[in-house]
Amino acid sequence: MRCDEIQERFIELLYDEPAVVSNDSVLKEHVNSCASCRRELEELRNTRRVLRLWQDEKPLRPLTILRTQKVSHHALGNAWQLVRFGAIAALVLLSILALANTRLTWNERGLSFSTRLFSGGNSSTDYYTKAEVRDILKRSLDDSEARMYETNSLMIQEALEIMEKEQYSYFRLASAKTNQRQNVN
């Protein structure tokens, strides 16, 4: 094997891990016999030692902002849930109102609200029966007929009075002329 191929496998010699550790005798024999590869391996070991001089340190500060963000995240989630529940509730309410044949009225006396949801359907008192309709029509016809007769009789009576007055005035005129002729004779 060439040196560069051997060096690509140095990880197997640098780390004592079951998953990567090498039992390959070719690799170990090459490193033992090749000064260049041995030096390269030693330099990598030294590099690891140097790198490990960089020790861990504590974070600059505790995650205080995270708590407020957590709360706001919660609050946003709750607000969103409230909006969702509100929308569903409004939809259900509107459906009930529509099914209940709700009547909303706004006038000078204010807002009034009526529904027939629990009235058990339309009451029979809300509608006229056929007999009642016939009776109402008959009464209204009778009423109008009576009014017509009354009007006609009034008009006839008035006409008769006029005619009587005119006859009387002709009679008086004629008798006056007769008296005038007798006086002349």
């Binding site: 891990e17 590099t47 790198l51 001089l53 960089w54 600059l60 995650l63």
Partner: protein, 187 residues
């Protein structure tokens, strides 16, 4: 591990207190992962914040409580990557070397390692710059293996690649780190 799974299960079942326990268990690890990935403490703190907020919002998408660690690391690394790309990975290694070349004496830093706390801080600064000069994938493999202490199988799981790919990324990452450290005067 069983305790961690139990806490995750509690949180999955709607126990908000369990979330606080998860934060206690993981915030230091995620902070250090992000700090090493981004090279900036403030950005790392922001990544911790974003990561746990993502966890809180999308915990319902986690099917298996035992996969929580892998899932959490993926979320954290996604936030790290997006932040890294947003800031345009501003500091190249050449810039790092030029800003760091005030000492001018190569080879002196190796002697500094492990000597005093102040020197250690300087070495950490050099390591940070060396890691920043490595590609994202190679750096991720190094961070998960060397600093998070995960097995290579776990690294492969988090990076969603075969084990052989994870090994290759780690090897090439170490080689790049080695080269960068040399350029920065650590031999």
């Amino acid at each position: 591990m069983a305790h961690q799974e139990a806490v995750v299960s509690r949180f999955l079942n709607g126990d908000d207190d369990a979330f606080d326990l998860l934060v206690e268990q993981w915030d230091k690890k995620i902070y250090n992962l992000a700090w090493r990935f981004l090279g900036n403490r403030e950005d790392a703190q922001d990544v911790v914040q974003e990561t746990f907020l993502s966890v809180y919002k999308s915990i319902r998408t986690l099917r298996e409580p035992r996969s929580f660690a892998t899932w959490l690391y993926r979320i954290a690394l996604n936030h790290c990557r997006s932040r890294w790309r947003k800031q345009g990975s501003d500091l190249s290694l050449d810039e790092a070397i030029s800003t760091d070349s005030r000492d001018g004496e190569e080879g002196t830093r190796l002697q500094l390692i492990g000597e005093s706390k102040r020197d250690l801080l300087e070495v950490v600064d050099i390591i940070q710059k060396a890691l920043m000069g490595i590609s994202e994938e190679h750096r991720t493999a190094i961070l998960l293996k060397e600093y998070m202490g995960l097995s290579l199988e776990e690294v492969a799981g988090i990076m969603e690649c075969p084990l052989s790919t994870a090994k290759s990324r780690l090897y090439h990452g170490l080689r790049e780190a080695q080269r960068n450290l040399k350029r920065l005067g650590v031999r």
